[in-house]
């Protein structure tokens, strides 16, 4: 269903010496990283480590001050429908749930008839059919985030960036979003996600990218990371967070 198989893969995503600073303050420094098609990549780190910033740079919403970020076929840019992003706070348009999805589909240039069909398909796929006519902005927080996820899903991206998608949600909402993440992954969409919920990270991660003070501290398989992290910052991060 999801289009990872359609066309050639844009992965891997390659970051070379990526740096970003604002007003002289270095927020990211010399990040070298290659994100391949396999598994779910979780970006972890303390607040201010640069997790969200890294996602925005990868998605092309921001331009790096130094270095390069490239897909297999060229530099990244926002608006490329092959990679989508869902934000911590869902940003929905002031129109119905269905119209939000239709708008996104219009933006990727889908013909009108196909738009309607895919929107219905998407709403049905995630049990949002009953909400289709409701104004998006009066949905509950959980419903709004599910709609934002569904909107991203309707675009059939090869890669989905998720910036702390459940941090504002209750446990039920969190579970629903995690189920949707699983659906993306099953469809072949590569998941790149930040979270500060370690339990969630354990549930979802196949590999972990750990940032510390704007630098890449380590990048390890999930099992290994949670059992015996290689870097000192990751060890203290896990220790500090574990009582939770």
């Amino acid at each position: 269903m999801v289009s990872a198989a359609e066309g050639s893969s844009i992965l891997p995503l390659t970051l070379r010496g990526v740096g970003y600073s604002v007003a002289g303050r270095v927020l990211l420094d010399a990040v070298d990283l290659e994100i391949g098609p396999e598994g779910r990549t979780l970006i972890l780190g303390a607040n201010g480590a640069g997790k969200s910033l890294l996602l925005r740079l990868c998605h092309g919403l921001l331009q790096p001050g130094a270095g390069s970020i490239r897909w297999s076929d060229g530099p990244t840019r926002a608006g490329d429908p092959r990679h989508a992003m869902v934000f911590q706070r869902p940003i929905l348009l002031r129109r119905s749930a269905r119209a939000n999805i239709l708008h996104a589909l219009a933006m990727i240039g889908l013909p009108a008839a196909e738009r309607r069909q895919r929107a219905e398909e998407t709403l049905a796929r995630f049990g949002l059919g009953a909400l289709a006519e409701r104004p998006a902005r009066v949905l509950s927080g959980g419903e709004q985030q599910r709609l934002a996820m569904a909107r991203a899903w309707s675009l059939k991206p090869q890669v989905l960036f998720l910036d702390e998608p459940t941090s504002a949600l209750d446990p039920a909402g969190t579970r629903a979003v995690e189920e949707m993440i699983a659906a993306f992954a099953e469809g072949g969409t590569k998941i790149v996600m930040t979270t500060h919920d370690l339990a969630q990270a354990r549930r979802l991660a196949d590999e972990v990218v750990f940032l510390h003070q704007g630098r890449l501290a380590e990048r390890t398989g999930a099992a290994e990371f949670f059992d015996m992290p290689a870097s000192a910052p990751a060890r203290s991060f896990l220790k500090g967070e574990l009582p939770w």
């Binding site: 919403l61 429908p81 940003i91 348009l93 002031r94 129109r95 708008h103 933006m107 902005r137 675009l155």
Partner: protein, 236 residues
């Protein structure tokens, strides 16, 4: 008509079904709505563009538009008069003392209002939407329709403000229209004329009719907005 009570005068005017009055009201609406339509077609996208773009001199442009909201109608009228006069640059068009000239003058008056208010509305929306819209590939000119549509409830205010300024205005339409009976006489220029004739009750009666029209239009816009807002679940 020498009725001394303006409310009675207004009622008598309406009740008489006077075709002259109907013509005056129709012309007023036609001129003002045309000017409004032109201002919206130009002002909304330009306002949105101004809201989303950053370029040198943008601040000056914003200040200029805001200042033009206070442009005295007489000045706008005089400028259009000199432009359209047979001795002016657009003289050969022969548009002076026609409804078209009045539409132009009112457009000059309300375009800055539509432009400035829509810029404000879109700027706020763009701040909220920018990341999401750029992520969806909806940026630059492609974002303008999205932003205008999502700002529709606030933009109604801009539209009503524009309508109000145009329909209440007399200085500009008097100069460029000439207040010609049956051709360019609007409600406001008729009020000026009746005042000059000392027919104060009749003048006020016409004023009451104008106010009534404005009330109906505003009421309609309000109800429409309420309905649309409810169905769009707008909190504001």
């Amino acid at each position: 008509m020498s009725e001394s009570n303006p409310f009675v005068a207004a009622w008598l005017l309406i009740a008489s079904g006077d075709p002259t009055l109907a013509g005056i009201v129709a012309l007023s609406l036609r001129v003002t709505l045309s000017a409004l339509a032109i201002s919206l077609v130009i002002g909304l996208p330009c306002g949105a563009f101004l809201a989303m773009s950053r370029f040198p001199g943008r601040g000056l442009l914003v200040i200029g538009c805001n200042a033009l909201m206070g442009l005295p109608p007489v000045v706008a009228g005089l400028a259009i008069y000199l432009l359209l006069s047979r001795s002016g640059p657009l003289g050969p068009l022969g548009l002076l003392f026609t409804p078209s000239a009045m539409v132009m003058a009112q457009t000059v008056l309300i375009l800055p209002i539509v432009l400035s208010l829509s810029r404000q509305v879109v700027e706020d929306l763009w701040e909220e939407y920018e990341e999401q819209l750029r992520s969806l590939g909806c940026s630059g000119a492609r974002a303008i329709p999205t932003l205008l549509w999502d700002g529709r409830f606030s933009l109604i205010t801009a539209i009503l403000a524009g309508f109000g300024r145009a329909s209440a205005e007399v200085g500009a339409v008097l100069i460029v229209g000439g207040n010609i009976a049956g051709h360019t006489r609007t409600i406001t220029t008729a009020i000026a004329l009746e005042t000059a004739k000392g027919e104060l009750a009749l003048a006020l009666g016409l004023g009451i009719i104008l106010l009534g029209l404005t009330l109906i239009l505003n009421g309609g816009a309000y109800l429409m907005g309420q309905y649309a807002r409810r169905s769009a679940g707008q909190p504001w």
